[in-house]
């Protein structure tokens, strides 16, 4: 298991972060600090507010009140400075069916002004060069997810923000993802990883934050006692993990 690397610098800092959709409160006064070099798991049932929080970090959405700071920059005021240095696997994304895997990998590389070793990226994700030559329209869900992960790692980002990265992955894909996260953290990358599945977070993360009903219930270090983390998760969450996501439309809550 990974040791907690705390250089004292904050990679992500949320101060009283709140997002309301009309009457509905998606996230409520969240305070959180994630240290540089840390692998942080953001854990909660579907509809708890994980994606809303990540959307604000990535400036897809704007907070109703409070602030989000990423790598020292305000998420809403300096999105370009942030996005130059981070890699993102968003939730609810789509790729371009007519472009090939290689073309997808070249996109972030050219926008970030870096050269990529595409074959190394492919190798890490278990994609072959023949796969990368094909249009993404022919890919399976898991292959798309692995390619999107690969796009996030292009340019050796300082921070990886992964929203439900295990969704759509088969057991082999999940083990590739875990290895990738561990490699990135070893390299010094901060990883912020959301999931509704405890095991996926527990095996790769140094600390977890448990969120439910839009509130951050607790933050705990992950040591080798996954079982007590399970109790923690059960104690702090009311919804069942199989609930359909409903909060993003603003119509319901967990």
């Amino acid at each position: 298991m990974l040791s907690l690397v705390q250089s004292g610098m904050t990679a992500i800092r949320l101060d009283s972060l709140t997002k309301r959709y009309g009457e509905y409160v998606a996230i409520d006064e969240i305070d959180l600090s994630v240290m540089e070099g840390e692998a942080f798991g953001f854990l909660g049932p579907n509809g708890a507010g994980k994606s809303t929080t990540l959307d604000i970090l990535l400036d897809y959405a704007r907070p109703s009140s409070g602030t989000a700071t990423v790598l020292g920059y305000n998420a809403q005021d300096n999105p370009r400075e942030i996005h130059d240095r981070i890699g993102v696997l968003p939730e609810g994304y789509d790729l371009y069916d007519r472009l090939t895997g290689y073309e997808h990998l070249r996109l972030p590389a050219s926008l970030k002004g870096v050269d990529i070793d595409a074959d190394r990226v492919l190798d890490r994700l278990g994609l072959s060069q023949a796969d990368a030559d094909r249009p993404v329209g022919t890919y399976s869900t898991g292959m798309r997810q692995r390619l999107a992960l690969g796009m996030a790692t292009v340019g050796d980002p300082d921070l990886l923000v992964l929203d439900e990265p295990t969704s759509g992955l088969d057991p082999h894909g999940i083990s590739l993802l875990k290895r990738l996260v561990i490699e990135e953290v070893t390299r010094g990358t901060t990883v912020f990883f959301s999931s509704h599945i405890l095991e996926h977070v527990a095996e790769t993360c140094d600390r977890v934050g448990i969120i439910d009903d839009g509130r951050l219930k607790t933050v705990a270090a992950v040591e080798d006692h996954t079982s007590s983390l399970g109790e923690l998760f059960d104690r702090h969450t009311s919804g069942s993990p199989s609930e359909p996501p409903g909060m993003r439309s603003g119509s319901g809550g967990a």
């Binding site: 959307d55 990535l58 400036d59 897809y60 959405a61 704007r62 999105p79 370009r80 996005h83 130059d84 890699g87 993102v88 696997l89 968003p90 939730e91 609810g92 994304y93 789509d94 790729l95 371009y96 996109l107 972030p108 926008l111 970030k112 999107a148 796009m151 996030a152 993003r248």
Partner: protein, 264 residues
């Protein structure tokens, strides 16, 4: 479709439906262009930003170092370039068909029509892309832009008359206020026909429905009409400006809207 219509127009003119000359054929080309170019612009433009927003690929683009404004500018440059290539291909094809049918090429009318049609395509391209940036889904963008095109085609005259009625409490008579023809020419279809006529020396008619609510004073020149509001020497820049405004104003509106919304 543009190419097929080019052949159709030249064939119809060559067979003596109306005046038989290559220039007359160019005049008539303006009509299918006014139908097909807006349709092409809607197909190209309405899916751009709202299509990516609805599918989720906008979230991938925004995850990289790209601003929302840059995305709209990129879509605009790409969309307008595609439309310009389409129009250029149609004009190039018209040159070949003209050579084959009449043995001559009416260069000035064709170039004038081509340049104006590109501006016209940009007007509807800008409108479609701007609305696409402001709307959450391609369906909504198509509804808004198609509605706008229908208004320009069918309802512009009643709207202008209504504005006149509201402003002066009377329906416009033959002695209409000077700003009525000005309002009419804010319609890109009207501006297109006028600019194509001025630049090409042919006579291109606006493809829109009028109900005879406004008297058409055939004796007055275009300059007479517009000079009530715009000085005579500014008529051409004014009309070209109308087409450019239809390109840029919706795009700026779309950029401002897109910057304000949550991309979920």
């Amino acid at each position: 479709m543009l190419l097929v219509s080019v052949i159709g127009v030249f064939q119809a003119v060559a067979r003596g439906l109306g005046p038989t000359s290559a220039t007359a054929a160019v005049d008539n080309l303006g009509l299918p262009f006014q139908l097909l170019v807006p349709l092409a612009a809607i197909l190209v433009g309405c899916f751009t930003v709202s299509g990516e927003r609805a599918s989720g690929s906008l979230r991938v683009l925004l995850g990289m170092p790209l601003s929302r404004t840059e995305i709209v500018v990129g879509k605009l440059v790409g969309g307008l370039a595609a439309l310009a290539v389409g129009v250029a291909a149609a004009i190039g094809f018209a040159i070949l068909v003209s050579l084959g049918t009449f043995g001559t090429v009416p260069v000035r009318p064709l170039v004038g029509l081509g340049v104006t049609t590109v501006l016209f395509a940009f007007a509807f391209g800008g409108l479609s892309i701007g609305v696409s940036a402001a709307a959450a889904t391609p369906k909504r963008s198509i509804a808004v832009v198609t509605g706008g095109y229908m208004t320009m085609t069918f309802l512009w005259e009643p709207v202008v008359v209504g504005i006149h009625r509201a402003a002066s409490q009377v329906l416009p008579s033959s002695a209409v206020a000077t700003w009525v023809p000005f309002l009419e020419r804010l319609n890109p279809i009207e501006a297109y026909a006028d600019v194509a006529t001025i630049l090409g020396g042919a006579s291109v008619y606006p493809l829109r429905i009028t109900f005879g609510l406004l008297e058409r004073d055939s004796g007055a020149s275009l300059a007479d009409h517009v000079s009530g509001v715009v000085a005579g020497y500014l008529v051409e820049p004014f009309l070209i400006g109308v087409l450019c405004a239809w390109t840029m104003v919706p795009v700026l509106f779309g950029m401002v809207r897109l910057r304000a919304v949550d991309i979920s």
